[in-house]
């Protein structure tokens, strides 16, 4: 009997581990064909009907409850602290910014449009002064008007990292690079508006003074961290439990990891808001620990969409692709999944050895390990995500990864090995996060194909939750001999600078929390970033982005796996649905409507 009980317990433990693993998995094997499907009996718009275009805009009616489900709660609903992409998307329900992403599908969604401000910024010629005028009729949820001081206070909160950690700090770095301001909580001035870089000459005007021009500044302001916060409603670290609304909806109830309900903010006026349609009366979010149950409920019609927007899990995806393809979209997520080669680990200091790995790997099998063409994405051929201006997608393929060499080229790899002075191959270690089964699978795929060209790679699965201290520490990388690191990266906002600077700029190399794993230290790359910051016109920025991408690819620092894609669900009752590059291929939540409000 004792034995029986023990084995029962052990099974539970194993099962618990399996569940945890399943929850951590976002994608695995998959497939299916791409043949589109126009409309359907259920009324769903069709496969990919909302991918980069608007589906069924005219069918959206006012009212009803929009039901989100999710496997993961936001890192924080505090506009200053949230960093998850879906949080930025969702936060537009209860927060407004001076400017925000344009409510439009695809690439257009990645451009900024006025929100609280009457127009986009009036920028001074030197690119250092940004001036905005606030609209009339903009109000808080208690009916008081939103002033320029509220915007300034909201932005100042970014400085209070000791209390409000977690969110993006771009605004702080650009407006106060010397870290002079202490943040509003330690601000000695009476109105707590001591940040010198922002002027509020009157309630309607706000002026930003940049010590140094930065062409991405308006994109940074468009982030949720640029939202206004009213001082008397600031509950500091607890603000995330109940943010004070400036948008069309306000918090009714929130139980972290359990549920969230938003109801209409009756003080919000449609006329004051050119961005938000605010169709539903109520928005609910229910969090699940069981990703399969979430998928089941989506497919069953109990929920309208997944708030996390990271795609269906393998089981649900298979069912959905077979039976409900018309409810699916297959957008590009903005993430590139890749392997990178720290130059501080021999023999990756030699470009030929890096190229040998790039040629030696089987790119189709890597794509399959990522989940195949639908759930994994297209074979990655360069390092600029397709949604970022300047990206060329698969048309730029310097190593013919999606072409001639897609299954790997042993001949070319051997050639490079010879050039590297390692004709018989070498030994190295692949570092991979242990909590990402898909990444482990890609590491195994690499290991197998590299073996064929004589490169013997060991796989080291490290504690994924601690990656900042493990692969983020160059000293440790060198000590452990991590020649190949498997990672992924997505842009916070679609800009080559926002995406690439942490990865490629030598000035971003850190002792801990480093993201420039390849240890790229190239003055010409750094120079291009400087040039990018001061180039204000879009065409010029695009050109530099392309050049940066080429430089990185020429250096053979990276082996891209895929331009990542997800398979996302949209219920048949959703209308006015479109994916936006401004939110990495997620649906633009704020303008979703219901066909049959209930």
């Amino acid at each position: 009997m004792t034995t029986q009980r023990t084995s029962g317990r052990r099974k539970q433990a194993v099962a618990a581990a399996a569940v945890v693993a399943a929850l951590l998995t976002t994608a695995a094997c998959g497939g299916g064909d791409d043949s589109g499907d126009k409309g359907s009996k259920s009324g769903a718009a069709g496969f990919d009907a909302a991918n980069n275009k608007v589906a069924q805009a005219s069918q959206a009616k006012k009212g009803g409850t929009l039901r989100f489900g999710g496997a993961q709660d936001a890192d924080s609903w505090d506009t200053t602290r949230g960093y998850y992409g879906f949080m930025w998307d969702f936060s537009r329900y209860y927060s407004r910014q001076l400017v925000t992403n344009k409510p439009a599908p695809g690439k257009e969604g990645a451009t900024v449009t006025p929100d609280l401000a009457t127009d986009v910024a009036k920028v001074s010629d030197d690119g250092k002064t940004y001036t905005y005028t606030l609209r009339d009729g903009i109000t808080w949820e208690d009916g008081k008007p939103i002033t320029s001081k509220d915007v300034k206070y909201g932005i100042e909160r970014v400085w209070a990292q000791d209390v409000l950690s977690g969110g993006p700090t771009y605004l702080k770095e650009v407006l106060d690079p010397k870290d002079e301001y202490q943040g509003p909580y330690k601000d000695k001035s009476a109105d707590k508006l001591g940040l010198k870089a922002i002027d509020t000459p009157d309630d309607k005007t706000i002026v930003f003074h940049l010590p140094k021009a930065n062409s991405d500044f308006e994109d940074m302001l468009a982030l949720t961290s640029g939202s206004p916060v009213r001082q008397d409603k600031d509950t500091k670290s607890k603000y995330q439990l109940r943010p004070f609304s400036s948008g069309p909806y306000k918090f009714e109830s929130y139980n972290p990891n359990k549920d969230l309900t938003l109801v209409r903010n009756t003080e919000w006026k449609q006329a004051s808001d050119p961005v938000r349609k605010a169709y539903p009366d109520k928005i609910t979010v229910k969090f699940f620990t069981n990703a399969n149950e979430l998928d089941q409920r989506l497919i069953n019609g109990d929920l309208d969409l997944d708030i996390n927007q990271t795609g269906l899990s393998p089981q649900g995806r298979t069912t959905a692709l077979k039976q409900h393809k018309e409810n699916l979209d297959n957008p590009v997520s903005g993430f590139i999944r890749y392997a990178t080669f720290p130059q501080i680990v021999k023999p990756f200091d030699n470009i030929h050895c890096r190229k040998a790995v790039i040629y030696g790997a089987d790119h189709v099998s890597l794509q399959t390990a990522r989940g195949g063409p639908l759930a994994g994405g297209d074979i990655g051929t360069n390092m600029l995500p397709p949604a970022v201006p300047g990206a060329e997608g698969q048309s730029y393929d310097p190593y013919e990864l999606a072409g001639a060499n897609k299954s790997g080229s042993a001949a070319k790899a051997k050639e490079e090995l010879k050039a590297c002075g390692q004709p018989n191959g070498f030994k190295t270690t692949i570092a991979v996060r242990n909590n990402k089964p898909v990444e482990v699978a890609t590491a195994q795929s690499m290991q197998a194909s590299l073996k064929k060209v004589g490169i013997n790679a060991e796989i080291d699965q490290y504690d994924g939750s601690q990656y900042g201290g493990i692969i983020g520490s160059p000293a440790n990388v060198k000590k452990k001999g991590y020649g190949i690191i498997i990672m992924g990266w997505g842009p916070d906002f679609p800009s080559a600078q926002g995406y690439g600077a942490p990865l490629w700029d030598s000035r971003y190399i850190l002792e801990s929390g480093n993201n420039n794993f390849a240890m790229i230290d190239d003055k010409s790359v750094d120079g291009l970033f400087d040039q990018f910051s001061t180039t204000l016109d879009a065409a010029g920025k695009t050109k530099i982005a392309t050049e940066l991408n080429h430089k990185i690819m020429d250096g053979a620092y990276y082996l891209p796996f895929v331009f990542e894609k997800f398979v996302n669900w949209r219920s048949s009752n959703l209308a006015n649905v479109y994916t936006s590059d401004g939110y990495s291929g997620m649906y633009d939540f704020v303008n979703l409507g219901l066909k049959n409000p209930k």
Partner: protein, 332 residues
């Protein structure tokens, strides 16, 4: 009996203090010795040095260990105040701290989740006791029969099948396909009927596993007891067979079942992680699973303490019941 009770209570109180110390040690001291900075893992993605230092101050990690232990105890029994970066928070007793992910006070979270888990565990326990014990007794009395074999095969499958498997099957068959039950959790305080309806599947699924274990142990114990001399004596007295089984044999059979029940209930109250995850019940188990995923140590700590307390209380109750059932224990 009274002396026994006092002894047990005293032992439980001592255990509680020891548990708090151990838990404190595991969460605050072991990482320190292992060279892991808790403050860094609390801050998360962007480890801003100022933020790390603020957390350190807030948590009192710079204080000497005895001061930390004192603050920890004080927090639990009298409340404490956290202050850092101009953000001052008073945490009323019993203070288990604040979640570092959601900034919620831990105690209200625990008291909010606890009834869910308690309802799940108790409801399931009633089911598995009724069905498990009945099946076990019948199997023992009809040993070797078709019923016995059938019941034991079902029991074996019940013990072997993991909850997330039976749970998912139950969900997709009874909730999603047949739509017999609404598999949505509704708090008891909101609507009894809806709560009950939503709990039926979790109860059955959880009870299935445990009923299987209880049937097996009941059968084995019953068979053992039926061979005891005192059962023969009971028959020799001329007692009816139902009295022999229902009174004399059952009373002895209850002893190991009770021990198991105490342990199982205690452990379940600590978190029926799988059942709660599968059925999306907002109980302690789901809470701790989320907390582990997000490395929210204060929540984990709170749940561990509550679990320990639950196991402690369950054991205390079992000890007392044990003494009621078995007079020999009272001397021990």
């Amino acid at each position: 009996m009274l002396a026994y009770l006092i002894r047990r209570l005293f032992a439980a109180a001592v255990m509680l203090v020891v548990i708090i110390l151990v838990v404190f040690g595991i969460f605050f001291l072991v990482p320190k010795w292992a060279g892991v900075d808790i403050a860094t893992s609390f801050v998360g993605k962007q480890a801003d040095p100022a933020a790390v230092e603020a957390v350190r101050v807030k948590l009192g990690l710079n204080d000497p260990i005895y001061a930390q232990v004192w603050e920890f105890f004080k927090g639990i029994f009298a409340g404490r105040t956290y202050a850092a970066g101009g953000d001052v928070t008073h945490c009323a007793a019993p203070c288990f701290g604040y979640s570092f992910r959601t900034e919620q006070a831990i105690w209200p979270v625990l008291t909010d989740r606890f009834p869910v888990t308690l309802g799940l565990a108790l409801g399931a326990a009633v089911l598995w006791l009724i069905f498990g014990v009945a099946a076990g007794v019948l199997s023992a009395l009809k040993r070797g029969s078709l019923w016995d074999r059938g019941a034991m095969v079902i029991a074996l499958s019940g013990v072997s099948l993991p909850i997330y498997f039976t749970g998912m099957i139950a969900l997709s068959v009874f909730a999603f396909s047949l739509k017999w039950f609404d598999a949505e959790y509704v708090p008891l305080s909101e609507n009894f009927g809806s709560w009950f309806g939503g709990m039926i599947l979790p109860w059955i699924t959880l009870a299935f596993l445990y009923a299987a274990m209880y049937a097996r142990i009941t059968r084995a114990t019953m068979l053992e007891i039926l061979g005891e001399d005192y059962i023969r004596t009971a028959r020799a007295k001329g007692l009816r067979e139902q009295t022999v089984i229902g009174k004399h044999a059952m009373r002895s059979t209850m002893t190991p079942i009770l021990t198991m029940l105490g342990m199982d209930l205690g452990a379940l109250i600590g978190g029926a992680v799988l059942t709660e995850s599968t059925f999306n019940l907002p109980g302690l188990g789901r809470e701790v699973l989320t907390a582990i995923k997000t490395q929210d140590l204060p929540i984990i700590l709170g749940v561990v303490l509550i679990t320990s307390l639950a196991v402690l209380i369950a054991n205390l109750v079992v000890d007392i019941l044990y003494a009621v059932i078995d007079p020999r224990v009272r001397l021990a």
